[in-house]
Structures are given as C-alpha cells and as structure tokens.
C-alpha cells in the first residue's frame, strides 16, 4: 500500500476507533488477528483430541447416554493391541500401503521421466494423465465396481485378451485372493498422477548445466541417470512416498465404495474397522483408543514428513 493510500485509510478511520488502535501495542494487534484462528483450532482440533484421549480410558458407549461411564484405565489399549483380528486389519493395511506406494512410485517416476522429455503434445498428455486424480474417490469407486463386473466389466475382458482366461472365471471384488489387489489397482490408477507431478517438479528442478558437464566428462546416459537424476529427485520421491503413505494409512472412501471391507475382512483396512467399532458396534471408548493408536502412528509419520520437507526446502 502506498503512503498516500495509508494516509487515506488513516483519515477515514473514525477518531474513537483510531484512538483505541493507537493505544494497542503491535503484539496486541497481532494477537487480535491470530485469536480467531487459534480459537477455531482449539474448538475443532484440540478439544476433540483431548476428549477422545479421555474417552479412550473409559467404557463409554455413545448410543447409551444414561449408562454409567467407568474408568477402565489402559484396558481398551490392551485389548486392541492383543486382538489378532485387528492385527490382521493392520496387515491388510500394510499390504495396501506397500503395494500402492511401490506401484505409484514406479509408474509415477517413469511417467514423469517420459513427460519431462520434450515432445509434441506434451501438455495434452500431462492433462490426460492427471485426470484420475481430479475425480472424487466415491465416483472412482463406483465406476471401477462396474469395470470389475465379471459378466460385463471391461477389466475382465482386458485380462482375457492378455491371458486367454474366461472373463467370468474370476471375480476381482469377490475373491479373497484378488480383492486386496483390486483396491491396489484402483488406488494406483487414481494417485499415480500425484506422484508423477511431484517427480516432474523434481526432474525440472535439475539444472541443464549439470547434464552438460556430465556430457563433457563423457558420462553415459545410464551413469547420468544414476548419479544425477536419481539422487536429485530422491528428496521429492521421499516426499511423495511419505505423503501417499500417510494418506493411504487413512484410506476409507475408495475401499468402502469398492469392496466395503469384504469379502470377509480381507480388505477391511484399519479406518473401515474403526468406523465399524465406533458407529456400528457403538463401542465409543474402545474406538477412541483405536483412533489414538492410529493418530500417534500418523503423527509420527507426519513428523518424519515435515523433517523430509525441510530437507527439500534446504536444497
């Protein structure tokens, strides 16, 4: 704002208001601006968190308001951490996390590397590749459900075309062996573009003169790739892995739309299981302890994520 406009604003401020503001220190004015945000943060984030921690030590059930709430100490945590069914849910989540991240990084980096080469229609291809990421998970879940239909689904016909197996001989969403892979395929299809964009940013941040210097030193393309490209993109890749890891740890909507956690509980990820405990079985205290366990895990991963982010910024 120029000096003139500052003067005009000062002149337009009513005298009593101006007198009040002039009486406040810079620190007080800063607090006035920050206070609403802090209040909202406390009300929306901190208060529910503290309440959840408190509930996690009780046998509270949200559907039985009049019932006496007893403090049961660490029993909820003990039950969750010795429950082999929840352990299986954790393993299903681990399978989902590992393979989605593996495929997304592999395909995302390859796509970014290809897109980074200058060719005709480069921008158009980038837009087309990025499209799945812009769709709602509920929509993606629903239309992949149709694609996976054994009778009319396109997916089975494509597999038939490659393998020769009968389209109706396998069911992606109904089979215990295939269902965990079906959710991996959909999440990979949807979120690979995100990893690609991060990798592309990393690739474009590498200055050309480094490659020119390597060319002068007669370094082969393969050597350039492993000694320049990979090390310089690595922090970005790490960032993508951590970001997708945290997001997929909380995955809910896409999997609920696709399999609903089934068949049996083969695709029941922790967030789906948590929702069942909290809002179907109404074991609120138990679900609170479960939520705190997941929260601490995600918070821990987020701490590493912030550290990695700072390292990327330092570059």
């Amino acid at each position: 704002m120029s000096d003139k406009s500052i003067d005009r604003v000062a002149a337009a401020t009513p005298a009593p208001v101006a007198r009040k503001i002039r009486g406040l220190s810079d620190r007080a004015i800063a607090w006035i601006f920050v206070a609403p945000t802090i209040f909202l943060l406390l009300a929306i984030n901190i208060f529910p968190l503290i309440w959840t921690i408190q509930l996690s030590f009780t046998n509270y059930k949200a559907n039985r308001i009049g019932r006496e709430v007893k403090n049961i100490g660490l029993r909820n945590y003990e039950r969750i951490l010795t429950d082999s069914d929840i352990w299986l849910n954790m393993q299903a989540t681990a399978h989902f996390l590992f393979w989605t991240i593996f495929f997304q990084v592999l395909i995302g980096f390859t796509l970014a590397w290809l897109i980074n080469k200058k060719f005709k229609g480069n921008d158009l291809w980038t837009t087309i590749i990025v499209l799945p990421m812009m769709l709602s998970p509920a929509v993606v879940g629903n239309f992949w459900k149709f694609l996976y239909q054994p009778q009319i689904g396109l997916f089975n016909y494509i597999v038939t075309w490659f393998t020769g197996a009968e389209p109706s001989s396998f069911e992606m969403l109904g089979s215990v062996d295939l269902a965990p892979w079906s959710i991996v395929i959909v999440d990979t299809w949807m979120w690979t573009p995100f990893v690609m964009l991060i990798c592309l940013a990393g690739l474009r941040s590498i200055p050309d003169y480094i490659y020119e210097a390597a060319e002068i030193d007669r370094a082969s393309k393969l050597r350039q790739f492993f000694t320049i490209t990979i090390p310089m993109v690595l922090p970005f890749l790490m960032l993508a892995v951590l970001f997708r890891g945290i997001e997929n740890f909380k995955m809910f909507d896409l999997v609920v739309q696709l399999t609903g956690g089934g068949p049996g509980s083969t695709t029941e990820l922790t967030s789906i299981n948590l929702k069942r405990e909290a809002f179907e079985k109404w074991r609120t205290g138990y679900a609170s302890a479960y939520a705190i366990i997941l929260f601490v895990t995600v918070f821990g991963l987020a701490s590493i994520y912030v550290k990695a982010l700072n390292k990327v910024k330092e570059r």
């Binding site: 945590y77 951490l81 010795t82 082999s84 352990w87 954790m90 393993q91 989540t93 681990a94 996390l97 366990i293 601490v296 895990t297 918070f299 821990g300 991963l301 701490s303 590493i304 550290k307």
Partner: protein
C-alpha cells in the same frame, strides 16, 4: 559414528532426531508386520516414545 555419539552426548538435534525417526519407523513396522503378535503388542509404545521424543528433541540446538 564418533560425531553421532558426541552429538547425542551434547544433546544436539540432528542425532536425536535420527534416533526418534528410527523409533517411529520401527514402531510402524512392528504395528504392521505379519510375523509376531508380541511385536504388534509393543508397537504402540515404541511409536509413542519415538513421537514424543521427536517433539522434544526438535527443540534442541542444531
């Protein structure tokens, strides 16, 4: 290794953050591994210690 140990002894942020990060990673691995139920049982306490340690040591001097 010597630098790392002296960093730990002089309460420097880098090495302590590294230890905390290792604990968090170990805790997450223990939570999701399919090999031993006891590791799953103790995963939360390992992650919690790592996370709390990370919050504390991130205030140490560089």
């Amino acid at each position: 290794m010597k630098n790392f140990l002296s960093g730990l002894a002089r309460l420097r942020r880098g090495p302590w953050e590294f230890v905390a990060t290792l604990l968090i990673a170990l805790g997450v691995f223990m939570l999701m591994q399919p090999f031993a139920l006891w590791a799953y049982t103790y995963s939360f306490i390992v992650t919690l210690v790592g996370t709390v340690m990370f919050i504390i040591v991130s205030h140490f001097k560089e």
